[in-house]
Symmetry: D2
Subunit: 433 residues, 4 copies
């Protein structure tokens, strides 16, 4: 079943040094056009606006997750004499490699505006009429469905699932290290090698040998820091807000029968909420960028202005939203004030409210469907991590929000608006001048 390559293939990787491929299956999957397409989708969406180094693709990250999985299985075999069946071994590796294959360009904004879900597209790519599907079926007819089940967390052996998506999995370990490397920040760094050595497969889950507690603590803090220092960076989010507004404006214009200079052929199926798998796969970041470039020259002032802002990093400012400012009433008044100085709040006022639950003990909520981390104590019993670590306990189960309202300060100051109203707007937005 599992054909080995005559000679191991090796990729040079800045994060894991080398990525090793020994199975024909994996080699073929990497060559599939749906996988190569991940080269054209950046791992961190708009983060490059803030951290110019963060230009790495999901292709990059997917190889990394695969490599970590390969090393975990190697450790299990070499040190613990534990091994999966040959099919489950390939399942682990394929699921690791393909877990993000459904992602589109700038997923975060894209999905919010167009109501697509990358998880759903992942499933469709795996089981639909694709190169990836054909390759997976070389293992067995139901293999694509099994890979989809693992990624969708419904696979029968939860041990396999937990290696890819739990609170300490191959996916998270790779993205923390990789995003740290490319952004040049150090927050996401932790001793992965140590963690790999203390992971233990135990019935239906992976647990951590108690001597590794501090290494895992370090990993949890690394993840926490990356969320607040990198992923939720206020400047990145300003770019995200603008991107969403661009997509909304283009969609609204299309629906209103507006004639574009350059017909947005690739976007129309999205605007009409009627997109095929083939059309979805044709949507990558260069395509979005191509239209954005054109939109910089559109006659519609709003679409044109927003696109130029995005391309040339002329971003929105923000005000913290929530304590004294931020009620529905307050927002309605600000909207009105914007309208009265000729700025459409639909496209020029954007609320962004990311939140993160850095670690959770219970199986509830969106992130909460990840099992907690258990320490394997010397006496053979399991103890949940946050009961031993005050640091983890301090951030456990606490969802933290960050609400911000983004707005174009430069427009207010362009000299064409009524000074009194502008002053009033600024007072409400707490602009210090």
């Amino acid at each position: 079943m599992a054909e080995r390559l005559r000679e191991e293939k090796v990729f040079k990787d800045p994060v894991h040094r080398y990525i090793h491929v020994r199975d024909q299956l994996i080699w073929d999957l990497i060559g599939a056009s749906e996988f190569q397409r991940l080269r054209r989708i950046r791992q961190l969406g708009t983060s490059y606006v803030t951290f110019h180094g963060a230009e790495h693709s999901r292709f990059n990250h997917s190889l990394g997750v695969y490599e970590i999985m390969r090393r975990i299985l190697g450790q299990f075999g070499r040190r613990l004499s534990f091994s999966f069946s040959e099919e489950e071994r390939l399942l682990c590796l394929s699921a690791a490699l393909l877990h993000d294959i459904g992602h589109g360009p700038y997923s975060h904004s894209f999905e919010k505006v167009f109501h697509t879900e990358h998880e759903e597209w992942t499933r469709r790519i795996l089981v639909g009429n694709t190169q990836v599907n054909k390759i997976l079926r070389s293992v067995s007819d139901d293999f694509p469905w099994k890979v989809a089940a693992v990624i969708g967390k419904t696979y029968e052996n939860p041990l396999v699932t937990s290696l890819i998506s739990s609170q300490i999995d191959a996916d998270r370990m790779d993205y923390l290290l990789r995003d740290t490397y490319y952004t040049g920040t150090n927050y996401g760094f932790f001793d992965m090698e140590r963690i790999l050595r203390v992971l233990r497969p135990l019935e239906d889950k992976v647990v951590v040998k108690h001597t590794g507690m501090h290494a895992v603590e370090d990993y949890i803090v690394a993840r926490y820091q990356m969320y607040w220092q990198v992923y939720f960076h206020r400047v990145t989010r300003s770019a995200e807000v603008i991107l969403r507004k661009i997509f909304e404006r283009a969609r609204d214009l299309y629906r209103a029968g507006y004639t574009f200079n350059w017909r947005p052929a690739h976007f129309i199926p999205l605007f009409e909420q009627n997109i095929t798998l083939e059309e979805y796969l044709a949507l990558d970041e260069p395509t979005v960028m191509f239209y954005m470039n054109e939109w910089c020259r559109e006659k519609d002032e709003i679409l044109c202005d927003l696109s130029q802002r995005f391309m040339n990093r002329r971003l929105f400012k923000y005000v913290e939203y929530g304590e004294k400012v931020g009620s529905v009433e307050w927002k309605r008044e600000v909207d009105e004030l914007f309208r009265s100085v000729g700025i459409d709040p639909t496209y020029y006022l954007g609320v962004d409210s990311p939140s993160d639950l850095p670690y959770d003990v219970y199986r509830s909520g969106d992130d909460g469907d990840r099992t907690p981390i258990y320490l394997l104590m010397p006496d053979g019993k399991l103890e949940e991590l946050s009961r031993r670590s005050v640091i983890v306990e301090s951030i456990s189960g606490k969802r933290r929000y960050d609400h911000k309202l983004y707005y174009p300060l430069d427009l207010l100051d362009d000299g064409t608006r009524d000074p009194n109203t502008v002053r009033e707007i600024k007072r409400r937005l707490r602009v210090h001048q």
Copy 2:
């Protein structure tokens, strides 16, 4: 003249840790649309095909060159009490930042096929009707011309020029370190901090204090290694060859009156060799990718096949070209054999012959217009580097070539060709089976 920012701006950079901006001029240049455009052009063109980490942009590199220049000037000031006039200080910084601004997408292939020159476009961007030009003129009316002169190596003060383009300059130092970092190889690493400390401005050039000789040796070897290990990697070049063939095919089709599914509007000015500055600036990698994606569905088989090869990394194989194989006669015969099995050699046989002159003493030839590196000896005299270093001497003045002929092995093996001719072709191409 040189307005300082109220508060220093800082970019996080994985290579230099932080990039510091203190001048309003530099801040404004970074925000110019022509500079932001460099975010959409990768530093290493097709190298990402071989080294998946190498997805960084010229924006990235340009900031790095600027930062190195800033540090060189800082060292000169702090340690040597040497400083340029305020205008020349800004000139150094601006030229460092903008030295690559004329680059287009995949310059290497692009320029070969379309006979454009990024140096010429740099000049046109600096002195033409652009945001960059407007910002530069805020210093003085002839400042854009001065920046162009520095980059073009015709500026009156050769000391300024040599900081940006000599055999040891801010440009080279940044790209070696940066390309090493992103590819994950270690070949390009050297101790830049040490080199910065031993650089000495001396009349019309920058020399190196003799105690730094081994550090400079290390830099020269690093550069040499990067050329042969990374820049001229055989797999990258295969992608380059295919890219050139794609451009050639598209151009030939256009000229032949072929009707494209999707009219290649952005390419037509190039095909007609009649491209304006604005049209040139609209050409970035996403645009090329956009068309390439479309060409994957073109009815012309050659354009379609080549585009799919490029997108999905189905590359050409190669044969070393030059010793026993490779004469004009030999090539003509191989062309004929290809034709006889129905493969057009114009688009399916590509010769690639990069060469490098790692270090040169004399002022002749293309790279040779870079002054040699001088060591400042204890007695105050200058000695040319290769006279003191056997390692540098060993590679000095020796241009090394690498000729390869690229061809599609899979096409020959697709089962539709005459087996005898295919066997004969393989014999000539020395395919081991």
Copy 3:
């Protein structure tokens, strides 16, 4: 007053890359014999037993603290236009360089057994008849006293003091990074450059610009991790316990009139609690090692056995001490049992109870005399760190203890003891077999 060196001196340092010396005063202090002596005292005492890389000296660390201080002052000057008087500048640098000069060999064990205090010896070296004192007096007659006051935290300007000893100071920043580097662990790593950029001198203390909160969080967690992962490592502490027992045994033998093979001349003033400055300075690690080597051949079995254990890493095992085991009564019984199988508990049972207070808000207790860390908020107000950071809050003010009882398992198992008693001892010590 402050003579500058004609040419800056530079030390290559693996942690800070380069250490720069520009003042004659600093250069002279580094050359003083009392400072060179720090080359012969390891930074981490017995940690090398656990982490073989940790062989670096206090000389190493002292240079590092100096360099960080130099960079802090540089940042203050360049970015904030804040500068100390020339005398206080030298005071900062000298105090940073000399803050550990009173340390003896294996201070931790040494001070416990012989009741010396390195802080007191630091003071005596600074103001006594030493080379360091002579050099410091070249600044002004009372300069040595001022340096002593800064190190002793009694200097009149608390801003100066806080740069060297507060909860985020040059000393801590260097040792975390340095000990991390040499041990090869990653726990102590944090982004020092970022922290230096957000430090702000504000009246009598150094505060942190609010944008640096997460970087400081990272530093606090790094420190916390290093304490539990490195400094309090159970194996290191086993070596510490043995070392203390050796010193105690040698002292007790001396007091009992025992005749040593090799008269412990250098230790006698300590044994007699009557040691001069010159005698103290002659005590370095090689001296201790020299005697330890000799003691490996002493006829007294206990001194000989303990010394061989230390030299050849034949360490004690431990039992967690405190929950069910560990009462005074329990300990008395274990002592008795040891005695009954012929092992003297005075020298073969050692309790070790390190504790750490990772961060504290109040000015009480031993570590608590360090001021809390304040964030400088956008509105100009100060907020104490743990009020903004849940992570810091979680470890703030909580002193954590770790009690262990160390004992020689191999002695119990040497086959010469009564098996029933040994079994009983093991049961009490919870030895799993």
Copy 4:
């Protein structure tokens, strides 16, 4: 024969991240007192005087060589299905671990003055009455002799020998990386992982797959740089010269019947050239330091002065020796001039002439008994490295010397000497003032 540990032991190592021990034999050897003694001997002798970070011990390095050997064998097994017999596997590992076990303190100076040879002591420790010997004999009676044969390069299977001592072996790879890490220089860095992947056992030697040529080039240049930048650093050599003079003076005094304050018991067997294995093993760096400390207080002025110089880094200056200065005649005159101002040239003038042969093709000379490096070409033939690499060719077979004469400039300037003679001496020594 080869008992495996129940659980793998792991050492944290800054260079190789982790060092893995799975064999009881290796674990026992590491615990042997002769091996633990290597903790008390620095890897780079006096280099710490120049590079303060270089305080790491031979213990450190020996573990590293062992780990590289373990990885080489792992690669051979996993990738090439090549394996040694179980005995030869242990032989490789043991020889790697123990190859430096005969080293004494400051070997370089020590061996020159006292005519000891660490290779000979290695042999004696392996086959003599030692713990190491006893442990090795647990494999087989002649196993210690086999280990000695491998280290002495007389073992019957040259493949085994070449893994430990050839021009690219586990020893060299470790010391380059390790010394680079601890000094903080970057010169010795190369991509070891890559090299391990291209090593191929081929009959009686290890060859390099041709694709690894540039990685090996990098390694050769790294080695070359380390010799001239670190190992032969002029300041380190000044300390070496002084150390030799101290040893010579102490020996000469002893022979002349001088009465030392503190009888140099540990040195006397050396002075009398009649030293036993036990006495040799008792000589470590702390012992040498202990006496040096005492000698700083000796009444003999020369011994006292030289010792203080060494301890407090008051070093000699140097003059390049060889071009215009340096003939026998010239030296005799300088000696005479020194004598005439009351400075004994025997102890105050020292010539130091290290040389290095960075790579050699032939089997002649001291370093030359190392086989050249062969590349395994695609056609299965071997080609010697320097025939393919111009860089290696440039330094191949060229022994480079560096002669320097060291002298105490400060003594000449102490104001007690005849000014005219001093002026004449300085003229001859080319002192620039």
